[in-house]
Symmetry: C2
Subunit: 197 residues, 2 copies
Amino acid sequence: MTPAEKTPRTERGRKTLRLLLDAAAAEFGEKGFHESSVVSITQRAGVALGSFYTYFDSKDSLFRALVRDMSAQVRQTVGPVIAAEPDRLEGERKGLNKFLNFVREHKELYRIIDEAEFVDPPSYRAHYENTVNGYLASLKEAATKGQVRDDVEEVHAWAIVGMNVFLGLRFGVLDEDRDAAEVATIAADLLTNGLKR
Amino acid sequence: MTPAEKTPRTERGRKTLRLLLDAAAAEFGEKGFHESSVVSITQRAGVALGSFYTYFDSKDSLFRALVRDMSAQVRQTVGPVIAAEPDRLEGERKGLNKFLNFVREHKELYRIIDEAEFVDPPSYRAHYENTVNGYLASLKEAATKGQVRDDVEEVHAWAIVGMNVFLGLRFGVLDEDRDAAEVATIAADLLTNGLKR
């Protein structure tokens, strides 16, 4: 599914759409949904107002598209890092490290996804369900390869996604006082060996 | 710290304050902060408008007090269940089960805490920092007793709180299709033994 309401057919159209989504991320992240405006977003993007309405009906439809786009960006950034690693537990470590660095470079991510709970609840729910479903599918695949316990199920996937989201909040958004790779190593060790002595 | 701006000195005052906080939880949880009103909250509470202003200056100060109150309620509900258990990992299971049942009975909890990110960011941050700091202190105590690994630190505390928050969202707020005790058992086993085969 493409992030916009209308799919651009040309390279130039795809570039315009990307400019609009990036400007929307900056504007919504900085001002929040209610204080943001289509005019200001098009000015940030350097795109004519008429071009905006080629792709979106309204500020609401742009926001929905942005949540889908950011959600997909996270999966496309982290997913391949996990998938490239033959050892899933090592993949968890590398994937979390990648996610923490992504969050540090896109601090607006949390505010936008979190505001979706109020601005567009179905987008909020879809973001987490898609993220968890992707995680669960890859955990099950790792289980069939003997890389993780063979009883992995939905509870594990929600638990791990929650863990990663909170580590991203603390060590990506709120403060960068810890080394991302070290945080990822500690968390991956918790996932591998558990809390027991 | 008491949840209100002004501390009631009488039993009757404490009862009035509790009625106001419970009515505020219902109103903010149902309508959100911006659509909620002090008049409507006092009507729900069956409390005179003048009594409201004995305890709070404004809708904002009530909201701040409510976030502190709900945050404390969660810790006071779950903390003793964990503390009562001599085996910390069994305590994690019982604590999560208690939390899931608390969320099912207080579904407004998530919406109110999450809205604090936008309505009063310091309250939002304080809620998570207090929750994690409490968790970390109790994990370190368990470590000194030899109940969990002795290198427990902030990363573990944020990871476990994030896990529990997301399990509460999925299995408490969004849907109750799974048995809470079963969810808690699976999550506690993940925490105890990790993901490895």
